[in-house]
């Protein structure tokens, strides 16, 4: 190897490798008990069922996989495919806030009820019922917007919105395909329905104690799927932040009628003469921050 850069990198990797305890990794790779016999059977691939249980045990730390899991996993996979299509779905979202946790994490408390339209990564929400009314969404370019009234809107480029509002959007937007993907990767799934014709498919998913899920967004999810379309009919999420329960989110499918593209754009939710505060006009950035901060303050619980 003549290239001095490659030689330097190789030397670095050699030094790092020299500091690795190969025996420690060897012990970790071996199944715990009964080690020798399981290892031999495992590596030889001689006993199918023993192998499956052993590998699942090592990978997921959950050796007792019930036979229903495969069926539930398949159904969640089909549901993910159904939700990956660029189709519009309207859900009602009813929330239960853990206000102290949200306040500590500087997340604006959620409204009680929302209407949530989704299409792939795009979504738009509006509050329903008492309390401050607003609409928000993510458009086709990944920009986050807030329509504070018909006369004023805030538009943020991806990553520009700031943590509190970003987390608010993360809470209320049902990005179904992404969430179902997370379930497939990190959750143990069980079918809870009897499988009778016409009965909704009911699946309970609990996060696996896997190292990839040390700080999962959700701990427990209960899904009801349409037995034919596999679309999510209802979904209940226990939302966690930094290991603490922050909110319970209950989505119910209301409508699947196609919507025009424009409903996911800020302009659709404003009057023609409305003021849009975005980054195009640097003189307005301060005003955008000011209205964003005022918006956040409106949702802070008043001291008694």
């Amino acid at each position: 190897m003549t290239d001095p850069i490659e030689r330097a990198v190789r030397d670095h990797l050699d030094r790092e490798a020299a500091g690795v305890d190969a025996d420690a990794m060897f012990v970790r790779v071996r199944p715990a008990q009964p080690s020798r016999r399981a290892w031999l059977r495992w590596t030889a691939g001689a006993a199918g069922s023993a192998l499956a249980a052993g590998v699942a045990g090592v990978i997921f730390f959950n050796p007792a996989q019930p036979p229903q899991l495969a069926a539930a996993e398949q159904l969640v996979r089909e549901s993910k495919d159904a939700h990956s299509a660029a189709a519009d779905r309207l859900y009602q979202l009813v929330t239960e806030n853990e206000i102290p946790v949200l306040r500590r994490l500087q997340i604006p408390p959620l409204a009680k009820t929302y209407r949530v339209w989704t299409r792939g990564e795009r979504f738009w929400i509006e509050t329903v019922g008492d309390g401050p009314h607003y609409a928000a969404g993510q458009d086709s370019e990944g920009r986050i917007w807030f329509a504070l009234s018909r006369k004023r809107g805030l538009l943020f480029e991806p990553g520009e919105v700031g943590e509190p509002l970003a987390r608010l959007c993360d809470f209320v937007s049902l990005r179904a395909a992404q969430t179902l993907g997370e379930i497939l990767e990190g959750f143990t799934m069980l079918r809870k329905d009897s499988g009778q014709p016409g009965e909704p498919i009911r699946i309970e998913a609990n996060v696996r104690p896997n190292f990839l899920n040390r700080n999962p967004r959700f701990r427990r999810i209960v899904l009801e799927l349409d037995p034919v379309t596999k679309l999510i009919q209802t979904a209940s999420f226990q939302r966690h932040m930094e290991g603490e329960p922050a909110a319970a989110l209950n989505f119910t499918l209301l409508d699947t009628a196609p919507q025009p593209d424009s409903v996911y754009e800020l302009r659709y939710h404003l009057d023609a003469d409305a003021e849009v505060l975005d980054r195009k006009d640097p003189w307005r950035l301060d005003r955008r921050s000011k209205f964003r901060d005022e918006f956040l303050k409106r949702f802070q619980p008043r001291p008694r």
């Binding site: 850069i5 670095h12 790779v29 290892w39 192998l51 520009e160």
Partner: protein, 175 residues
């Protein structure tokens, strides 16, 4: 004592595999978990693969995928929060990559390489490390799941960036 061919294979490949995963993730704990997971997945298919012959490349492929997925998953979660691709945001630094004794003993180049690698985007870091381990451009593409041309670009950019960052140290070594 080893009495199974795969025992020997694990012991022989583990140091290189763990070092590679640590370098990509810069978090020793996550790296070891991923390597363990990857070994588990490969060994489960030991009757399909010839692990003593092809295992290292398969292992590096599996580790690369898992590490890149983990980093991408963390970015997805924070995508709305942060716009930049600041890796220090989602990865605590691996203090072991720059050992104090390296600096203390005057091995400045070694310390500089560790720091410079950390500054590379993870795909470039993986590409240059695989190149330094003797893999061809095509193999790097297969391991990182990119085209061969793309692998070449990654290696080239990584080498350029490292050359710039390490220039003072390399010149001193030559002198």
């Amino acid at each position: 004592m080893s009495d199974h061919p795969l025992d020997e294979w694990v012991r022989a490949t583990a140091p290189r595999a763990v070092a590679y995963a640590r370098s990509l993730l810069r978090n020793p704990h996550d790296a070891e978990e991923i390597v363990q997971d990857c070994y588990g997945r490969l060994i489960a298919k030991a009757d399909v693969y010839d692990l003593p012959r092809d295992g290292m490349k398969l292992l590096l492929t599996s580790i690369s995928n898992a590490c890149l997925n983990l980093k991408s998953r963390r970015r997805t979660f924070f995508r709305l929060v942060r716009s930049d691709d600041d890796e220090t945001f989602d990865d605590p630094p691996d203090r072991s990559t720059a050992k104090p004794e390296e600096t203390a003993s005057g091995n400045e180049l070694a310390a500089a390489v560790a720091i410079a690698l950390r500054k590379l985007p993870v795909q470039q870091r993986a590409a240059i490390e695989l190149k330094s381990l003797g893999h061809s451009q095509q193999e790097i593409g297969e391991i990182l799941n990119v085209t061969s041309n793309n692998a070449g670009v990654l290696v080239h950019r990584a080498r350029q960036a490292l050359a710039e960052m390490l220039a003072p140290f390399l010149e001193r070594e030559d002198a």
